[in-house]
Symmetry: C2
Subunit: 350 residues, 2 copies
């Protein structure tokens, strides 16, 4: 991104009525103006202000962690958040799930011709606030514009980097028989908030997305129990897909207790109306932690002491199972397989 | 991305006739299969095989460099390359323009429902070959699917990281009066190849995109002249936009000699037919270098000794100019202002 001293093209951007046009992706003056009057206005920091196509950063010692996520959520604005906030939190969380300290993000925008400048301004403002809340900087970025009908408003790809302290080695592979499975709070709120806000669904709730940056919670958890085995955020596919992924990665089974899984009654009710299993519904501010049984109460206490882990609960345990099944003892006392969904259920949830 | 031991959903992907559907972005089994049978098949490496949502990397000492780019080129396959190759080379080059050693990329895919699996397979194969050629690994990735009519085949966002040796400080800000301006080869070939391959333009050439990874060339240049002031690749907006950016960033003027700018006659001819100024047309495998006049011949010799710098030439010099104009002495002996384009000229060139 380029320098503040550059002269604007001709007057200021029409932030109220204006729309993004193809010239904003051309590499010329109009793009420079868009960058200056929207992106730099909100995101300004010493790394962005270097003004080159890259950012140069001093890094603290430790292994580097990198993660990337494309954000295509629809609608762009939803109860409890918007695509800008989600794009920051989603990637902060993916990096944080390694146990790393998250430091910097890059952000790439693919904008559809005709997108209102006012909406872009609002989204970039959300990103700035989310980055500040998470304690990260947006160090470098890119903007592309595609013709009307070749995109859908705006897509945002974010990549995050962080630094991992020695001795922390968190991975899905480390789930081991006997380990406790913990979730940090109520499930399914993000997915239900999105579904409820989609036009034509004909139902309304006051459920808000749980989108939040989990790096602060993770730091508190790693301080309490440095040998956490697994952390993962149950986004697309929800708790069911995430636990099946871990079971397959580690070659173990997982047994859940339905009664222990935190679930707000409004979310349970909305899922019933929509014909969804809450176990398949995405969260954007929750994490699953797996640790040795003897560490579980200490980890749980650390989580409950953090605002984003207040409702944390031990929901099950890892077992030996060469078939790698995730199963759940239901409220009625039976046991059922918790499969990941085979096909499409909740498209464009993030 | 997830583990190889995971069982496929039901048989193998239909790589010949199959199409991407919404389930491939769902977080469930179908997505796991797409990742395994296309992404891991081509891109497999120890970092991806970690199987978590993040990659953990040991980094050599030095400052970290990060750059990101979204790729929306149309058409996806063009003479001399495709979007996969471009997505790797484009970001390798952005990181390399800092003088850094480029190490790892992340890759995020936004795929339109109905996109042929065979095309995706071909594109990811191209990425794998391009990464191997550039000596980088694709360390982590993400896949999203959007409904038909909400995207355009595939968009690929790549973010690159590299490590910068002490003493190298390359930035657009460092262009100083008296410096020499060098370009590494013939301009405009990528842009003309794209324009020629678009349907309905009714003209054909045998010009190929110049897409190439420039990190090897940059390493040779930095070895010869550690104190290079500026490196930048003239992509969107071409040489004109890139030099104007630098002039604004550094607060200087630039004077070019038209006769010295390498330009293949076929490119010149195609630009005339298309009504384009070759100075505005994108390159994807060329760079501009600016260095002290006394270093210029040594830098030029190092560039010409590299296959990607064979046609390198000194094309002008940096001058004092509070107005920051880029001007050019034309072949006819006159002098004209080289402006960057104000609006749209070559949409979706990269």
């Amino acid at each position: 991104m380029s320098d503040r001293r550059r002269k604007p093209a001709a007057g200021r951007l029409a932030l109220r009525q204006g729309k993004v046009d193809m010239s904003h992706g051309s590499g010329g003056r109009a793009m420079a103006q868009l960058i200056e009057e929207i992106f730099l206005k909100h995101l300004d920091n010493p790394l962005l202000r270097q003004g080159d196509d890259f950012a140069v950063m001093d890094m603290p010692p430790g292994r580097l962690v990198m993660s990337t996520d494309g954000h295509v959520v629809s609608p762009l604005f939803f109860p409890g958040g918007d695509i800008g906030e989600l794009a920051v939190n989603g990637t902060v969380n993916d990096v944080a799930m390694s146990g790393a300290r998250v430091l910097h993000l890059s952000a790439g925008f693919i904008i559809e011709e005709g997108f209102p400048l006012a909406d872009l301004d609002r989204i970039v403002g959300s990103m700035a606030r989310a980055a500040e809340t998470a304690g990260v900087t947006i160090a470098t970025g890119d903007t592309k514009v595609v013709e009307r009908g070749k995109g859908d408003g705006v897509f945002i790809s974010t990549t995050g980097i962080g630094v991992l302290a020695d001795g922390v080695r968190i991975s899905g592979k480390r789930a081991a028989p006997g380990d406790a499975v913990i979730v940090s709070g109520g499930i399914g709120e993000h997915g239900v908030a999105i579904m409820a806000s989609r036009e034509g669904l004909g139902f309304e709730t006051d459920i808000l997305s749980d989108t939040a940056p989990l790096n602060g919670l993770v730091a508190a958890m790693v301080a309490a129990v440095p040998d956490i085995h697994v952390l993962r955020d149950p986004t697309r596919g929800g708790l069911a897909a995430t636990l099946n992924e871990i079971a397959h990665q580690a070659g173990v089974g997982i047994r859940l207790e339905e009664a222990r899984i935190p679930l707000r009654p409004e979310v349970a009710g909305a899922c019933e109306l929509l014909g969804l299993d809450p176990l398949n519904v995405a969260c954007e501010g929750r994490l699953i932690a797996i640790c040795a049984a003897e560490d579980a109460e200490r980890l749980l206490a650390a989580m409950r002491a953090h605002p984003l882990g207040r409702d944390a609960a031990i929901i099950g345990r890892v077992v030996e199972d060469p078939e790698r099944f995730v199963t759940m003892r239901t409220g009625m006392g039976g046991e059922r397989v918790v499969d990941w969904i085979a096909g499409e259920q909740l498209p464009r949830i993030c």
